[in-house]
């Protein structure tokens, strides 16, 4: 386990984010939050929009040396190919893909040799739910970004991996379901979509992130850790 230093966490105010902040602190590390919303529990908190490169640059400048980077921030939007507004598509890509890339870009000069980067994809990179074309595309792109970056960072001994959750019990899921007329019925069926018969708690995703951050995963790079309770395996 990386024993000291600071871990920068985007999306730290969200469900998976705050669980990760707590795990990072429990491991004796400092948590630096980057989110639209401030994170009182974090050791450092920068409220910013990941669509804004200058704000990202300033935040990483202020945060300083890093033992790791966790990119969790993400946004969802409904829309099909035939009706998705161009601006909605661009916003999802700007946050989920470009925001992740820019966080890596500005974290890069501050990452210690042997540091670890964890990105957040989704089982959505592997399936298609009708009506979320931008989100699915963006999560596939995060995997491409992870694979590309794993080669680039390997020369410094910096590992780059992704976690892909199935359904997680967070505000993200609550919002997505609230937008649907049959949202409560879908929630009731969500557990049964996993081999383990339930959604994940955010802490279970945070533990997978912690593993990938830590020296326990010293030979793990360029890979996707699917933490989905068997969602993709269930038919």
């Amino acid at each position: 386990m990386t024993r000291n230093g600071t871990i920068a966490i985007t999306g730290a105010a969200g469900g998976i984010g705050i669980a990760t902040v707590r795990c990072v602190q429990a491991a004796g590390l400092r948590a630096a939050a980057l989110d639209l919303n401030p994170v009182a529990e974090a050791d450092l908190s920068h409220a910013l929009d990941l669509a804004d490169e200058e704000a990202i640059a300033r935040a990483f400048e202020a945060i300083g040396p890093l033992a790791g980077l966790v990119c969790i921030a993400g946004t969802n939007a409904r829309g099909r190919v035939e009706d998705l507004p161009w601006e909605t598509w661009r916003h999802v890509m700007a946050v989920n893909v470009r925001g992740t890339m820019l966080a890596m870009k500005h974290a890069s000069p501050r990452l210690a040799d042997g540091a670890s980067i964890v990105l957040t994809s989704s089982v959505s990179a592997h399936i298609g739910t009708d009506g979320y074309v931008a989100y699915h595309t963006s999560k596939g792109a995060v995997l491409g970004l992870m694979r590309a970056a794993s080669g680039e960072f390997a020369e410094r001994g910096v590992r780059v991996n992704a976690v892909s959750p199935g359904w997680v019990d967070t505000p993200f899921t609550d919002r997505a379901l609230a937008e649907l007329p049959d949202g409560e019925a879908i929630r009731a069926a969500a557990g049964a979509a996993h081999l383990l018969g339930r959604m994940a708690q955010p802490g279970e995703i945070a533990e997978a992130i912690m593993f990938l951050l830590s020296d326990e995963a010293s030979f793990v790079t360029g890979t996707e850790l699917i933490v989905d309770g068997g969602f993709l395996r269930k038919r």
């Binding site: 390997a154 590992r159 959750p165 383990l196 533990e207 326990e216 793990v220 933490v227 395996r233």
Partner: protein, 242 residues
């Protein structure tokens, strides 16, 4: 004390896994062709067992049941390798590969699941390989068995989920352990093979067996409580490199 059953425990990765699980506070039941001894004075039971022989596996698991009553983690590391192109391979050699590398996992699951059900840990971890995804030249039987290990992992994850048991696989690249030693012994140019084994990874080196063992331990732990039916690559970026 939680109990881990480890097959192939006398081998390179098996020894490292035994050590790492003992460090995590597990009692060990160690299976190999001849009796494996727990590393560094750790407590445990060594069992001589041929994983390709159903009677032998059944006997081993009844000894485990007698001694421990329950099992928390079943870790299938044992495996063999056989170098031969398809055109030249004896059918008996092909069968032996399938029997040990895949059939062995079927048998330990068959006799181990009732014990896992009684344990608290409820985790199975199987040793796969990047060779299940890329065709290692002249090792067609090995490549086939390692892909089958992943399919078996998925199938068992499905079946065992109803009993609360998680089943996952770990896929290493090259590891500084028995398989690599054997490949080095079989080649005319060990230096070239060594360089190839190093350069095959983004991280520019092979794994030490402990690095594989620590990933196994994580998957076997409650920290991986929402991970099932998966293969975790512990390959230093082998799959990403071209």
């Amino acid at each position: 004390m939680p109990v881990a059953v480890i097959t192939g425990a006398a081998g390179g990765i098996g020894t490292a896994t035994s050590r790492v699980m003992a460090e995590a506070g597990f009692d060990l039941a160690l299976i190999d062709r001849s009796e494996a001894r727990p590393p560094g004075g750790a407590a445990g039971l060594g069992l001589a067992c041929d994983l390709a022989d159903p009677g032998s596996v059944e006997t081993a698991f009844s000894a485990i049941a007698d001694r421990f009553g329950a099992v928390d983690a079943l870790i299938n590391v044992a495996g063999i390798n056989h170098r031969s192109p398809v055109a030249e391979m004896a059918v008996a050699d092909w069968d032996r590969m399938m029997d040990i590398n895949v059939g062995g996992m079927f048998l330990t699951a068959k006799f181990g699941l009732p014990l896992l059900e009684r344990g608290a840990g409820k985790a199975v971890v199987n040793m796969a390989s990047v060779s299940g995804h890329v065709a290692t030249v002249d090792y067609p039987a090995y490549v086939t068995t390692k892909a089958a290990v992943e399919s078996f992992t998925v199938a068992l994850a499905q079946e065992a989920a109803t009993r609360g048991i998680r089943v996952n696989a770990v896929a290493p690249g090259w590891v500084n352990a028995g398989f690599t030693d054997k490949a080095l012994a079989e080649t005319d140019d060990p230096d070239a093979l060594h360089a190839a084994a190093r350069d095959a990874h983004l991280l520019g080196r092979m794994a030490e067996p402990e690095e594989v063992a620590r990933a196994v331990r994580w998957l076997a732990s409650d920290k991986a409580s929402f991970v099932t039916g998966q293969t975790l690559f512990v390959d230093g970026g082998f799959m990403r490199k071209h």
